[in-house]
Symmetry: C2
Subunit: 430 residues, 2 copies
């Protein structure tokens, strides 16, 4: 063990923590040659000292006592992979206060408490790195902060939840229903027993808040993000979408507009020839448009032991490099602006709408009239007989404000010939 | 003009130079807020002081005298966008010797003289940044050096020449012939009057040498790269490829194997559902596989005024940040290893082969025998009548060494029933 090793304290040893341990020990020689010093895990905080960790390690590394890490001046970097807010936030704050650099994979924490943490990091001249918090191993935080820094970013559109992308891909390829695919995803371990965070869009919303903050240099928090999940997506909608040359994805969409920053997560129809349309299964991708670079996309695995650990360890290598040169915090918080978050009612989008109606004359006219009255203009109309007395109408609109759309839908819902508005899905990327 | 401005000397004011000037002046306020100091172009070296540059600028900025930049101690960063080797290499060496950080878009120079230049940069504690030299605005150099640093990279496969990708896309979508598409690309300004560098694969080979050096931490130079262009690709091959569920792309392929580093540029069949298959027109993409992160891909515009300038200015911002913290050269050359370059004869690949034969009994048997004699095993065989006396045989092989394939082809070429081997194209990505 060389004297130049940089000592690390780890909080947590779950899936990602195990991956971090494996990479740091298994790839140690290369890491050392790349940064000029070795990385050494000195202590790992765990709740249960005796649990089998699925990885061979020196039991002496484990501790149940947070102060073994916080009060050890030799430990320069804290890797936080325990997740959650309580007591994680306290631990991370304490580490920064003690001048330790922090690497975290914790989107829940960064999406809500980012501002406080960055201020603390800056005040204590410490690195706070969080590449792993968004889209697992895909490099996106540093590319936005550095490689694309010369740009004004106009929009970030991402498939940033692997579970729902797996489910939608299955539904698209096999025509299967939501409930069936969810069960399958749970069996495979892609979806949790309580899948709400994924299927209701909250996980994607956290990541989108982080991405938007960096892309637009203005703090966006979880509460700012309009969020809709995929639970109402049916095989029928996916089939119609295909007929219209679209595919259905759960997208996180962030745009900078004159009326403020737009941040929303919802199922979306995108054209089949859009680069995001080809991103299938558990893969993630983030599509970024800048005023100079144009359209770019970053693709890869958004979760999993080793992909996420890849980002964590790469961040730790950067933190170590900064420590060796005595410049921790060289790139800190980039939210130097305070841009308003745009009201959802003002957001402009195209819409796909599926409506059940009585199959009699004048129905389409009354629906079309309600739309035009609210300045909603129609681009495509499909009408199909479903049984002797019911027809299904599928519409795609031109761009219109959310507020107008909701008002039009409110009127249409109450038309006597309308039996049900089966679905309303936004359309993006034309 | 604030005292904290970082002064820049620019070499060249062509297409990319104009883009750099536009971004630095047009986006100056944001750049300043991101790095804590403004970027200021103090001098620009041009050959002709009176030429119209297509951009409004103070004529006082222009100079025909290189020493106005090299000997100005106020100039801390040199942006090289004049291209070529002579006299560029001298200028860049001089800048580094004078302790100036250098940002360059010059793949020709880096792919051949990288080693000398990095040594010079290190000796003089200067940054030498070259993100723009590969794939224009797409972040790939820094992601490989930093974001994926924890990985052992196994392979890098890229569509890294926009001109040929545009041409192949056209040929695929419209069934048009090579010559016709080349004329069209020249008319549109996508291909140069002398298109050899693009269509013969040399441009891609330079970029691949740079990518492989970084990915495998071992210097690879242009001469190491086996290079084949797209001139022999016909509409017929593309059509057969489609029938077999492949698409044809000019790929740069770099792999680390036990027998050394494999680096090759050639037209390639890849499966239509491979992420690279959907990369069309002038877009570029680099597919990177690491032991921890798995498969990732970086997509965007590989050339053009503003996309390339996006990478140049972002690099200049990093150089400025390093200067402000007094750590230029914090990430320098990462070629700490010396791995052998694998002999092309040892490379393993699958192959697509199209052969014209006399349409009589026993022909296929004699061909199949020649292949099996050289241990080439066949995966797919298509045979089609082309006229009364000729048939066309299309074969796809399993993986086999290049050497065996060439030996088998040598025998087949001389079989009495074989009229011509029309094409041999490697297959990748299954």
């Amino acid at each position: 063990m060389s004297v130049e090793n940089i000592k690390i304290g780890m909080l947590g040893l779950g899936t990602v923590g195990r991956g971090v341990y494996r990479i740091i020990t298994g790839n140690g020689e290369n890491i050392k040659r790349k940064i000029g010093a070795g990385l050494e895990i000195k202590k790992i905080l765990v709740r249960d000292l005796n649990r089998d960790r699925g990885v061979e390690l020196d039991q002496q590394l484990l501790t149940g006592e947070i102060n073994d890490i916080m009060e050890d001046p030799e430990i320069k970097i804290v890797i936080e992979v325990m997740g959650g807010i309580e007591p994680t936030l306290d631990f991370v704050q304490q580490a920064l206060q003690n001048g330790k650099s922090v690497v975290t994979a914790n989107k829940d924490m960064i999406a809500v408490y980012g501002k406080q943490l960055f201020e603390l990091a800056e005040a204590n001249r410490a690195d706070l790195l969080f590449e792993a918090s968004v889209a697992g191993g895909i490099p996106i935080i540093r590319p936005l902060k550095q490689c694309l820094a010369a740009n004004r970013i106009n929009q970030v559109i991402g498939i940033i939840n692997g579970t729902t992308n797996y489910m939608l891909t299955k539904m698209t390829k096999e025509g299967s229903d939501f409930a069936e695919v969810l069960r399958e995803a749970q069996d495979k371990g892609y979806a949790e027993a309580n899948p709400a965070s994924d299927i209701e869009g909250y996980d994607a919303a956290r990541k989108l808040a982080i991405l938007a903050s960096i892309a637009f240099n203005s703090r966006v928090v979880l509460d700012d993000v309009y969020t809709e999940g995929i639970t109402k997506i049916t095989a029928t909608d996916i089939s119609y979408a295909g007929e219209l040359n679209y595919t259905v994805k759960l997208l996180g969409i962030a745009k900078e507009t004159e009326e403020g920053v737009e941040v929303r997560v919802h199922p979306t129809l995108i054209p089949v020839d859009h680069p995001l349309a080809a991103v299938n299964d558990v893969f993630n991708a983030i599509f970024v448009s800048g005023d100079a670079v144009g359209d770019t996309m970053f693709y890869g695995r958004g979760a999993g032991e080793l992909p996420t650990a890849s980002a964590v360890v790469s961040d730790a290598m950067d933190a170590a490099r900064d420590l060796l040169r005595n410049v921790p915090g060289i790139i800190s918080c980039t939210c130097y602006d305070e841009k308003p978050v745009k009201d959802m009612g003002l957001v402009e989008s195209r819409y796909y709408i599926r409506i059940q109606v009585s199959d009699k004359p004048g129905v389409l006219a009354s629906i079309a009239y309600a739309f035009s009255d609210k300045e909603v203009s129609l681009a495509t109309v499909l009408q199909k007989q479903t049984d002797a007395v019911t027809a299904e109408i599928v519409l795609v609109t031109h761009k219109v404000r959310e507020k107008n759309m909701q008002e039009a839908l409110e009127i249409i819902k109450h038309l006597s010939s309308v039996k049900a508005i089966s679905n309303v899905i936004r359309v993006e990327g034309d």
